[in-house]
């Protein structure tokens, strides 16, 4: 218990310069406390990971950050703005973008269209502008299409611009999700198990990709990830959740040797169990 409060206090104290700060977030589902008093922050331009065994509350926490669930306690601050309780589309348009654990693309829209959907909140043209194709609207459409193509090229699937998302290969779909998220011009990018279903080579390439995204698009990245080799290689800081609580936080080496983390993943050994 002591670790938690110490870690919580330190994260809470970081404050202002961070891209995203969550303080004392608690989420209850009926009697079940899915996330208990978790504080957490993503430094500007950092790559941090959220790990933990099954049912630790990682995805729930993610959903609080993106506005899908309203926390019962605690606040979420994006940049300088308190976004606690805002609707998902508002939070998204303020610069929080995400991908999904099980890919959720708009299957019957082309790759370009998928990316353009995410530009919705940055576009202005209204009903009449669209119907009569006014110069402003035409210009905006053209510019967004160009930007979409740029993003597709950036993630390396420029050749599939006119294909329906559902027809893309699995790896390309994952890339398209990232391109779509980047179209929001986010300050924070949340990746929910981005390497699920990838083989080791693909995962390794993915690590470089995340670095490139961070460097070239100036975003801070938060990953939920199960592949420990990816987590250890990509993360600058790792936060570990277990049963809804934060049990550890630190660099990859610290986490690897942290007994509580080992315990959470592998279970208690006999001697340690009796000792407690």
């Amino acid at each position: 218990m002591t670790d938690t409060s110490v870690a919580g206090a330190s994260a809470g104290a970081r404050g202002a310069g961070d891209a995203l700060t969550a303080t004392g977030v608690t989420v209850r589902f009926g009697g079940l406390i899915a996330v208990r008093d978790v504080s957490f922050s993503i430094p500007q331009g950092g790559i941090v990971s959220l790990i933990g065994p099954n049912g630790a509350g990682k995805t729930t926490f993610f959903n609080v950050l993106t506005g899908l669930y309203k926390p019962h306690k605690g606040r979420v601050v994006l940049g300088d703005t308190d976004v606690t309780g805002r609707s998902p589309h508002t939070i998204a348009s303020m610069g929080m973008a995400r991908t999904f654990q099980n890919i959720r693309l708009f299957g019957l829209m082309t790759a370009t269209e998928n990316v353009m959907v995410a530009m919705h909140s940055h576009m202005r043209s209204g009903l009449l502008g669209t119907i009569f194709r006014m110069p402003g609207q035409r210009h905006e459409e053209h510019a967004s299409r160009e930007f979409a193509h740029e993003l597709l090229d950036f993630v390396g699937i420029g050749g599939t611009a006119d294909q329906y998302a559902r027809n893309l290969s699995y790896g390309d779909q994952r890339r398209l999700e990232v391109a779509r998220a980047l179209a929001l011009k986010p300050s924070v990018l949340l990746l929910d198990e981005p390497t699920a279903g990838m083989n080791p080579q693909e995962s390794a390439r993915f690590v470089d990709f995340v670095h490139r995204v961070r460097d070239e698009k100036q975003v801070s990245v938060l990953l939920i990830e199960h592949d420990m080799s990816v987590v250890m290689r990509v993360s600058e800081r790792i936060t570990v959740l277990d049963q809804g609580e934060k049990i550890a936080e630190g660099g990859p080496d610290e986490i690897r040797s942290n007994p509580r983390v080992v315990e959470a993943y592998l279970g208690r050994t006999g001697t340690e169990g009796s000792a407690r």
């Binding site: 099954n54 993106t66 899908l68 609707s87 998902p88 589309h89 508002t90 998204a92 348009s93 995400r98 999904f100 654990q101 099980n102 890919i103 959720r104 693309l105 708009f106 299957g107 019957l108 829209m109 082309t110 269209e113 959907v117 995410a118 919705h120 909140s121 940055h122 576009m123 043209s125 009903l127 669209t130 119907i131 194709r133 609207q137 905006e140 459409e141 053209h142 299409r145 193509h149 420029g158 050749g159 599939t160 611009a161 006119d162 294909q163 329906y164 559902r166 027809n167 893309l168 290969s169 699995y170 779909q173 779509r180 998220a181 179209a183 929001l184 198990e193 699920a196 279903g197 199960h226």
Partner: protein, 406 residues
Amino acid sequence: MATELAQGRQPAPNAADLGGHHQRRWVLVFAVLALAVYLFYRFLLPNLPDSTQTTFQGWLPLLSVNEALVWVIAAVGLNIVVGYAGLLDLGFVAFWAIGGYTAGWIMSSFFYQVKNGFSIFSTASGQPGIHLNWWLVLLVAGLFCAFCGIIIGAPTLRLKSDYLALVTLGFGEIIPQVFKNGESVFGFNLTNGVKGIAPLDEITVVPGGKSLGPFDLETKYLLFVGIAAFCVFVSLRIREGRLGRAWLAIREDELAASMMGVPLMRSKLAAYAVGAFMGGLAGVVYAVHVNSVFSDQFSFSISIILLAMVVLGGMGNVWGVIVGALLLAWFNSTGLPQFGDWFNGQFNTEVNFPSYNFLIFGSLLVLMMLFRREGFFPETRTRQVLQEPERTGLESVGADLEGVTS
């Protein structure tokens, strides 16, 4: 258009044809057809032998073509709600009714309380009541319906699909009932109850022009085609813009759309309002077509037939919806009774075919759902789903399992 802007990159094998040449071909085909029909009825038909004329007036009278156009306008409107945004609406007749009554109110002598009359470019100026030029009436009714769409939509659009369908079903029933019982709203006669409002003012092509009587079907045909074309134009344009993409995204995956910054309520309300606008236009045009407004005209079956037109034609594809609307409307009003007469005469039977129309519609829908779910002329997109196996359907099994075990 989409493809032009994307030039320079090689289109993938199954590139989506959004707009472009495909679209332009359809426009051309329909424009030529519409003009040909006009020329045929205006110039050719009167010069044909009498027997041919009789056959034609029996099987394809211009009156039923005009009525079919009303259905086209409404179906194109419903297509925006159901086909574009994926919101099932089982009460679209409500907007048709509101549009019709708006026409009744502001282009007839119904409000005789306005003794000296209030008229704007109307054929009936000087008479008591409110008389607006019918183009204005179209605009007013459309906007009023859009407004009603937003009022109805605001509380209901939060519901998920099945519940939304049920609530719209309720509205489709309530609104005609309101009109039916509106004979004395706190002592004020709002709708004239079952007696309805008739006659309406005669319409003109241009303000101050020659007024069109009940037999000027050819000119009315041209006007109705024009209004339908306007609705088609609007649907096509919106589809390619920011709002159209938002609707598609909502139809595909509502949650993901909201996570990508698409405001769900606002976008859905916009779909409702635009659809309702066209429903209102259809209401006015129908009122002009039959020169009256009665509460009995607005039955539940209209909503269902409209839905059948959209589904049969190919949800989301405006051209398919037009074909579906024309076919079903003709079948309902003329085709089936004519076929019945022919059948009974041929086999000396007395089967009342028109009374079986819902049996036939129902069977048709069931057969469509079994054998051609995407409709006769599906969107390029939808054709994909129903004719090709989904790639991720197989490949993501592994990922899903991983999600479960991890």
